[in-house]
Symmetry: C2
Subunit: 329 residues, 2 copies
């Protein structure tokens, strides 16, 4: 099958770039040093490729992601790095043989984990992101409460998400400070796991026992500006459907693109605006109705969830088509 | 079933508000004066409610929307108000008995309509939006080319999308000017249809024979500021999963919200930021872990496509659950 046969808009993943990204990250963070975050691609076929690079444990953001990973045989060690109240579906996965660990940061989430039969938890610590996570000084008491509720406390997590797009060398310094906070909490909590990090801090964060990076696999224009050795593997293929004297329109709109980081990019063109099913752009060289154009999303994660499938491609050839099978909740 | 039984995030539609919106619009634009645009909700169950208000013709933005509408028995008169090159699937719908009219604005899209067996077209005219649509002075020659290709030219369309959020009275004046352009093109083209308009100009546009409004059914915070008599029917139900001294977090993130119009709103709270599965907010009154919160998206259309289903609710009761069955392409 060729790219020209695809219905547009279509999510394309360059095989060479993807494989290089996976290899580069696995060389830097081999085996259990990396716990790939599946929220960035939501595709078990891609997670299976990450597993083939030696990573057995995965990070998830939703219950659905855990369910689909387990059903795909990738449930050896799933961390739901998020707080959840409705833990019944997670408990069912554990009963079926998956290993699931869930983040807790309050008495309520501890009670939910225990009631749902999850069994294993990490104490989630606020290391400066100001989102979820308990105050560092409360981590020890939450760990004690979790143990009292019959839960196995594997350690701590603390996501320094506010530092991912900070430039160097400030990023390394602030990551060190955030991780000192997490390590002090870890000493209070006990356990062997210190889970943190992301693509932005994968080299800076030398304190966590495992890094939860996800974006490195596909990348996006925001991360690309930081100079990490990962290439932009993902684009959205579109068809030029209309050409006017001053502009052209491709059939990739804001229902096919994550827009929270702003407008997408088109190589050799100025992007004017997006509407539901259109991106209006000013091409440097003339384009014709029917031409195919690759649109580069500003943010990969919310782009992927808008598509039912992604196509692994090599040049003009479609090698494989993968369902984006972890969408929804 | 009660709202408290729903897995979050969950798309809620208030029945009273929806029904009032549908009734208000159908009173203003009865029967064929309104051609409801399904892109705003992508849900055949909701389209069926619009049909019950007397509107037999519908507007679509994608081939998939046409296919699913036809399969649901709502294919009596579908307008694909967009240019498409791959028309084979549309031709198949026509062969199966649906009536499908497609927008054309170039020789290439005319050739595609003829080759795909669509049969009926509107000439799409640029009335100032600067997106798709031919220059007004070319409409007549495109109509002649379409007829020479064996197509039935039903008339023209021209979407004044750039005027939807303009305040009154400027909006009415500029709509009149845009429609004068369209009516001159219509005189060159022939046919009986002049299709235009949207929720923002549904009262201003007294020149089009039919109005393509869609947002009025569910509404969003951007349109709500204009003072139209339509209420915000749609919200995203979330669960508070974490509470910190200065803020709280609800499990409705940018994968559950269209973000191109900016941050969502939460009544009685200041919304700080959204991440993949979280909205961080500062509540006016204390909230507790486990509380349910309604998040109001800034833009409805790209919010709806992120959800598999929407729940019609009355107070705390879930009346019906509708699949969002027109997603994808």
């Amino acid at each position: 099958m060729l790219i020209s046969d695809l219905t547009t808009p279509a999510l394309l993943v360059e095989r060479d770039v993807l494989d290089a990204n996976l290899a580069t990250m696995s060389a830097a963070l081999p085996g259990p040093r990396l716990r790939p975050h599946v929220k960035a691609h939501k595709t078990t076929a891609l997670a299976r490729r990450q597993a083939a690079h030696g990573h057995e444990g995965f990070t998830c953001a939703t219950v659905r992601e855990c369910e689909v990973m387990a059903a795909a045989g990738l449930g050896a060690d799933l961390l739901l790095a998020n707080e959840v109240l409705d833990t019944r579906r997670l408990g069912a996965l554990v009963a079926d043989g998956a290993r699931v660990t869930v983040a807790v940061d309050s008495p309520e989430t501890i009670a939910a984990a225990a009631a749902g039969g999850v069994g294993e938890v990490l104490v989630d610590v606020n290391v400066g992101l100001q989102r979820c996570g308990c105050p560092p000084e409360r981590a020890g008491e939450l760990a004690a409460a979790a143990r009292a509720a019959g839960l196995h406390v594997r350690g701590v997590m603390g996501y320094e998400g506010h530092l991912m797009l900070v430039p160097s060398p400030e990023r390394a310094e602030r990551t060190r400070d955030a991780m000192q906070v997490l390590l002090r909490a870890a000493a209070d909590v006990g356990g062997e796991v210190v889970s943190a990090g992301g693509t932005g801090t994968y080299l800076d964060n030398i304190w966590a026992t495992e890094i939860q990076a996800g974006s490195y696999a596909l990348m996006d224009t925001a991360y690309a500006r930081l100079g990490h050795p990962f290439g932009q593997a993902l684009s959205v293929l579109g068809t030029v459907i209309s050409v006017s004297p001053g502009h052209a329109v491709v059939d990739v709109g804001l229902k096919a693109l994550g827009m929270d980081h702003g407008l997408p990019a088109i190589e050799g063109a100025e992007v004017r605006r997006c509407s539901d099913e259109h991106t209006t752009f000013v091409p440097a060289e003339p384009v014709r109705v029917g031409d195919r154009v690759r649109v580069l999303p500003a943010h990969v994660d919310p782009t992927v969830v808008l598509h039912e499938r992604m196509h692994l491609v090599d040049g003009e050839t479609v090698l494989e088509t993968w369902p984006v099978d972890m969408r929804g909740w």
